[in-house]
């Protein structure tokens, strides 16, 4: 089979599955599961085949005309280079594992079919982003991803929290997408094309074409999708969705799509804009790290951790190493999917209890889940030898070589990461059970454990770049080679290994000493309530946006509504209708049925007419 065909299969298998489920399987959960799962399997196999073809034949692109408006042509096309292939393999593989996990997790749910249909449509949209060869197509799939995220966050439609969260995620993302759309329009206007390859070629020919405005506008899309400051508010709330969704969409793939998008359009970024991205990422990494300390919901802690890791990716992208951002993206996808699935297994085992202070002592009840969770945790903290270590290490080295301040802030971020993850682990998994739910916790079934084990292996081994199959991750190796070639590399490397490991160990130990195993209350809250309250407030961003929406936007909306009601509806529509009614009322009074009246009116008419004629003459 041709590589293009495999790619088309990758795209259309999940779409077909989603359509079939939507039309025929709403009431047949078993059929929906089978369809969605086999679609995920087909995606993985077809991706593998496409990548094999790709390693033999090199970059692959194919496109066809989709839409023609005058001179403006929009193509639908596929573009597979090494970066895309790396991302494709990650998405299809993690997607497959999460599908398998979902089978166990969603057992007994009333709307299983809708859930699996949603997963399939998500896979379709996400793979579309990965393979898109121009900005317009990317945007189309970008919006589809937003839609499927909306649908899956709101899976538990009966819960008000989930409905609100799905709306919030959708609307906040639209804010960023407005910038993205404007960016595409400007890019077409400026370059005359939206094809990624053509853009790269144009800029290589004439670097003066780079335009900061376009890059900044396109970056808005990244800020929305990857939940960076100031549009980060939706991600923690999005945890209201089912846990496999949080793992797939809000940790491993969709939020990472923002970073992937940046890597795809890296050629458009002027050098002046990069430091601001680095600072943005660093800020988010720290901010989210602090926020995570004041959360008691296991998934929300992980959500803030995701925010903070996305901050790391943005930071290293801003430092000029897109490859390292991709590296961290991939390893993060493995261990964060593992952590979320582990959390899902815990939540499943504890009968939907999400508060860590009501867990405790889970290690004895759920040894496999806890063990794999621990591996994911250590990988996230960057313990030596695990996947997170390699990618975070590279990020820290890059930071150290460019800016001391960013370096120290990111090391502090690593310390925070270890701290809040330690807090989560000590409280939820060790000590004694703190509630009946934790007391009766049970280990999950094989459908849920298998993905955990595979992801745990990947979290351990994902960092050994040399072992990556099929020559994937070329861009990562290039950037690492660039890093190795730096003058101060060796000294910095030692410094980073020491600083990173120390930060990790100190964070974990401090969390253990401070919070104690299996605590029932947050000690920070009891000892220093104002500090806790400050962290819990998350710098009042939600309140600020609420204030804006209620006090400013609502006022404007009310004014517009008043104008609408008074002028458009009142004056134009009701007014004209009323006028006609009034005239008809008057005319009706003439229609008496009395012959003499008619004759009198006739006479009056004749007199008036003759008076008029005489006056004119």
């Amino acid at each position: 089979m041709e590589a293009t065909n495999s790619l088309l299969l990758v795209l259309f298998a999940p779409l077909t599955a989603a359509c079939l489920i939507a039309f025929f399987c709403r009431q047949r959960p078993q059929a929906a599961i089978a369809l969605s799962l086999s679609a995920a399997g087909v995606i993985f196999i077809a991706s593998l085949m496409a990548t094999l073809q790709f390693t033999r034949l090199g970059d692959l692109s194919a496109s066809m005309e989709w839409l023609r408006l005058g001179d403006f042509v929009v193509n639908m096309g596929l573009f597979l280079d090494n970066t895309a292939a790396t991302m494709l393999m990650m998405v299809s593989f993690v997607g497959l594992l999460i599908h398998v996990f979902s089978v166990g997790y969603m057992r007994g749910d009333a709307a299983t079919a809708r859930f699996f249909g949603g997963l399939s449509i998500f896979m379709f949209s996400m793979l579309g982003i990965v393979l898109a060869d121009n900005l317009v197509m990317l945007f189309v799939f970008w919006e589809l991803v937003g839609f499927s995220s909306y649908m899956l966050i709101g899976h538990y439609i009966a819960k008000d929290e989930a409905a609100q969260a799905s709306k919030k995620a959708f609307i906040v993302n639209r804010v960023g997408d407005l910038g993205f759309l404007l960016g595409i329009v400007f890019a077409y206007w400026h370059f005359g094309t939206t094809e990624l390859t053509e853009l790269a070629a144009l800029i290589e020919l004439n670097p003066a074409l780079i335009n900061g405005t376009i890059a900044a506008l396109l970056m808005c899309g990244f800020i929305g999708k990857s939940a960076q400051f100031p549009l980060h508010v939706w991600l923690p709330d999005a945890m209201a969705g089912p846990t496999p969704v949080s793992a797939l969409i809000h940790a491993a793939t969709m939020v990472a799509a923002g970073v992937y998008f940046l890597i795809r359009i890296v050629c458009l970024f002027p050098v002046e804009l990069l430091p601001s991205i680095a600072w943005l990422g660093t800020g988010v990494a720290l901010y989210a790290g602090f926020c995570a300390f004041a959360q008691s919901d296991i998934k929300r802690i992980l959500a803030y951790s995701t925010l903070s890791q996305l901050g790391y990716m943005a930071a290293v992208f801003g430092l000029g190493y897109p490859g390292l951002a991709l590296f961290h993206l991939i390893t993060h996808a493995f261990f964060k999917a593992l952590l979320f699935l582990g959390a899902g297994s815990v939540i499943h085992g504890c009968h939907h209890e999400q508060n860590i202070f009501k867990m405790g002592g889970l290690f004895r009840k759920m040894p496999m889940t806890s063990g794999t969770f621990l591996i994911g945790l250590l990988a996230l903290c960057g313990v030596y030898g695990l996947s997170g270590f390699y990618s975070k290490d590279a990020i820290l080295i890059a930071a150290g070589l460019h800016s001391n301040l960013i370096f120290f802030l990111l090391v502090l971020g690593a310390l925070l990461t270890a701290g809040y993850m330690g807090r989560l682990f000590w409280i939820a998994f060790l000590g004694r059970p703190n509630s009946a739910a934790a007391e009766n916790a049970h280990e999950s079934g094989p459908a849920m454990l298998l993905p955990l084990i595979i992801l745990a292996l990947l979290s351990i081994a994902g960092g050994w770049l040399n072992l990556w199959p099929l020559g994937l991750g070329e861009i990562i190796q290039d950037d690492q080679a660039r890093l190795h070639a730096s003058v101060a590399y060796d000294a910095m490397h030692k410094k980073v290994v020491i600083a990173g490991s120390v930060a990790c160990l100190v964070g974990l130990l401090l969390a253990l000493l401070f919070y104690r195993m299996g605590a029932q209350k947050d000690r920070l809250q009891t000892l220093a309530a104002p500090v806790y309250a400050f962290l819990e407030s998350r710098l009042w961003f939600d309140e600020l946006y609420d204030f804006y929406v209620q006090k400013v936007q609502q006022r404007v909306a009310l004014l517009l509504s008043f104008l609408d009601v008074s002028i458009l509806k009142g004056l134009c529509m009701r007014g004209s209708a009323g006028l006609v009614a009034l005239v008809s009322l008057l005319l009706r009074m003439l229609h008496t049925g009395n012959l003499h009246n008619y004759v009198a009116w006739f006479l009056a008419g004749v007199l008036l007419l003759s008076a008029f004629v005489f006056a004119c003459a």
């Binding site: 008496t592 049925g593 009395n594 004759v599 009198a600």
Partner: protein, 87 residues
């Protein structure tokens, strides 16, 4: 003569009298036409008079028939009592 006819139409209430007044007005017009025709030495007016007489004859036939039908249905020929189009 036209004025008498017109006043008749306005003031009287019996449909038959109204009808006669209408005829009176038509004939007033006829007379005026003939007179002007004679005064101007042309035949145009006379021509119109013939047409009017013909149309008036037809009109009288139809009108009287309507009045008779009306009387049969309503037992009255007074305009005041014939205000409504339906029963």
């Amino acid at each position: 003569m036209f004025a008498i006819g017109f006043l008749g139409v306005i003031l009287r209430k019996n449909t038959l009298v109204l009808f006669m007044s209408l005829e009176l007005m038509l004939n007033a017009v006829n007379l005026a036409l003939v007179a002007f025709s004679r005064y101007n030495n042309t035949m145009d007016g006379n021509l119109f008079v013939f047409f009017i007489i013909t149309v008036a004859a037809a009109e009288v036939a139809v009108g009287l028939a309507i009045i008779v039908a009306l009387y049969r249905k309503r037992q009255t020929v007074m305009v005041d009592e014939l205000k409504a189009l339906e029963n």
